[in-house]
């Protein structure tokens, strides 16, 4: 418990550092939001621009702007979007769950299938299917996310029309909650496969290597010497030990997966945080961009703490603070 409290305190410091760094970077970036807003409204004269700058507090010194922003964030206020003129918190919360849904489905798909494939290939290394799976893993690992996405769209949405091309919902649908969920799930298939396939390749290779090692261990021999069936030896005694590296890597890669989601959301027009982020970059919508960066950093930190907790559940040696 003490360790977890220390981790949380340390994480808060980390998030503060992220805020300061991102704020500074955005401040240093070329381009003036006042000009963009003035340009959009069709009034580009210097007086209007100065007025906009004053309204947004952009005429204040950098340190004052930073201090004000940190104070607001501490109170849960991420500011107002220049572009949508809506609280950033509202914008992020409405976009957060589609991203969660996408990343969560992709992670689950990659971990569950990756581990099953890894176990299969470790148990039957000489089986032709194992060789095929290894080749598939390497291919999956080598494909860029946006290319995979486009290929899946061409094959399964354009040619055979099994899945929708883009979006999260069919706007024509007027049904009950179940039909809505089925519709969302239908839209989710291609984006989550696109995002998950690269991690599927990694996790299957990782769990294969880990499983091969664990299957040679003394405690697996003990389990066999007890007279347990091979299935129980593998899925009870070996698997729990073999998934430890997969959990580590999955936890560490969560940040990467969020950035991968940005590309996937763009390709599939998925209404998540990634698309909001890319739109905000082009529109110089600094509060939204900063809000998303803080939100992503916090998510990465939270996931890392959760990974630690999962570790403790899987491996009792970590629970007491280290192996003997």
């Amino acid at each position: 418990m003490k360790q977890i409290t220390a981790r949380i305190a340390w994480s808060l410091g980390l998030i503060l550092a992220v805020i300061v760094m991102c704020f500074t970077l955005i401040h240093l970036a070329p381009g003036d939001v006042a000009i963009v807003i003035a340009g959009d409204s069709g009034a580009g004269d210097p007086e209007v621009i100065a007025e906009i700058r004053e309204d947004l507090g952009l005429d204040q010194p950098f340190v004052v702007q930073l201090g004000g922003y940190v104070g607001d964030v501490a109170q849960g206020d991420l500011g107002t979007s220049y572009r949508f003129n809506e609280p950033v918190t509202d914008l992020i919360t409405t976009r957060l769950w589609p991203t969660f849904l996408l990343v969560g489905t992709a992670v689950s798909f990659a971990i569950v299938l990756g581990v099953l494939v890894g176990v299969f290939t470790a148990r039957r290394p000489e089986n032709p299917i194992s060789h095929g799976v290894t080749v598939f893993s390497l291919t999956g690992y080598s494909m860029p996310v946006f290319w995979t996405g486009l290929m899946l769209v061409i094959m399964f949405a354009s040619n055979v029309r099994w899945f929708p091309v883009s979006g999260m919902r069919d706007v024509r649908l007027d049904g009950n909650w179940l039909e809505e969920w089925i519709d969302i799930a239908h839209h989710l298939v291609l984006p989550s496969i696109t995002l998950g396939v690269i991690y599927l390749a990694q996790y299957s290779r990782l769990s294969r290597a880990s499983m091969l090692e664990v299957l040679q261990s003394d405690y697996v021999r003990t389990a066999r010497a007890k007279g347990l069936a091979e299935r129980r030896v593998v899925y009870k005694h070996a698997l729990r030990n073999a998934v430890i590296p997969v959990v580590t890597v999955a936890g560490l890669q969560f940040g990467q997966m969020l950035s991968g989601a940005l590309l996937v959301e763009t390709v599939f027009n998925w209404p998540g945080l990634g698309r909001l982020a890319s739109d905000s970059v082009f529109q110089r919508d600094a509060p939204v961009l900063l809000g998303i960066l803080i939100c992503s950093a916090s998510l990465v930190v939270i996931i890392n703490i959760l990974t630690d907790l999962v570790y403790r559940l899987i491996d009792p040696r970590i629970r007491v603070g280290g192996a003997s």
Binding site: D218, K226, L228, H237, D315, S324
Partner: protein, 283 residues
């Protein structure tokens, strides 16, 4: 009296390498047979072959020979010819095994109580509660102090001696007729070694099980064995009752093995130990 377990002409290969060649010996109920030899002589492979574990997870193959075992029904069966599902009925139940390194031989992510209970539930068909009672009895039998608390502990929370007691409890939990101990004291310090050997001797007397002990330590042999089989380079070099082997070994390899045990004063006048002369077995 007919032997409980009789190994006849056992040959085991790993690809083109022969790990065990034409090995034969008998074990009788209530007796301890020690298989001795240096590392790589084929002792452990012999033990794993009796359990038919040599074919699981390794490239080992039993090429020839038979392993005749008198089972609980008094029927003599050849273990080499049993199907895998038939072997699973025998493993951990009628023939069980303890290993050299108790820390790595216990699964680090399950409590020791659960690991012992698993064998009891599997072979004796007990429910979880009855199995836990059985585990408690076994922990008391192998003299684990505070058995209730120990049951919930994980292997890394125990000392080496306690872990090996857990392994012995696991092996004896289903009242096996044969207990195979593969270097059970090698990873333990000397005082704990003596305790574990004493425990094994007592348990053999209490349960009447036959014990096959694999070791390279002649001290252990002198302590526990009734009969001895000496192995070198995959073959049996010499066999006989323990007194005969210690007092009048005929084979030069056995004599060299006995001479390799350091004795008090054997280094007098020497600045380093004398090298062990390799003796080739000439059949």
């Amino acid at each position: 009296m007919d032997p409980l377990l009789s190994v006849r002409g056992l040959t085991v290969t790993f690809g083109s390498f022969t790990a065990v060649e034409d090995v034969s010996f008998d074990i009788h109920a209530g007796q301890t047979l020690a298989v001795v030899g240096e590392s790589g002589s084929g002792k452990s492979v012999t033990a794993l072959s009796i359990m038919r574990l040599v074919e699981l997870g390794t490239r080992g193959k039993i090429e020839a020979g038979e392993i005749l075992f008198r089972n609980s029904d008094g029927e003599v069966i050849d273990l080499v010819r049993q199907r895998e599902d038939q072997m699973r009925e025998i493993r951990g139940n009628q023939i069980s095994m303890i290993f050299q390194e108790p820390l790595t031989s216990l699964n680090p992510v399950y409590s020791v109580g659960d690991q012992v209970a698993e064998a009891v539930i599997l072979h004796q068909g007990l429910d979880k509660e009855a199995a836990n009672e059985r585990v408690l009895d076994m922990f008391r039998l192998v003299r684990i102090p505070e058995p209730e608390e120990r049951m919930a502990q994980f292997p890394h929370e125990m000392s080496g001696g306690m872990r090996q007691r857990v392994m012995i409890a696991m092996a004896l939990s289903c009242d096996p007729k044969v207990l195979i101990a593969d270097e059970p004291t090698t990873a333990l310090d000397v005082t704990i070694q003596a305790q574990i050997l004493g425990l094994m001797r007592d348990l053999r007397e209490q349960t009447g099980a036959a014990v096959l002990i694999i070791t390279h330590d002649m001290g252990v042999v002198a302590e526990v064995a009734d009969d001895v089989v000496v192995m070198n380079r995959a073959k049996v070099v010499e066999r006989g009752p323990v007194t005969q082997i210690f007092e009048s070994a005929t084979e030069p390899y056995t004599q060299a093995l006995l001479a390799s045990v350091p004795r008090l004063g054997s280094m007098t006048g020497l600045d380093k130990p004398a090298p062990f002369e390799l003796v080739e077995y000439q059949p």
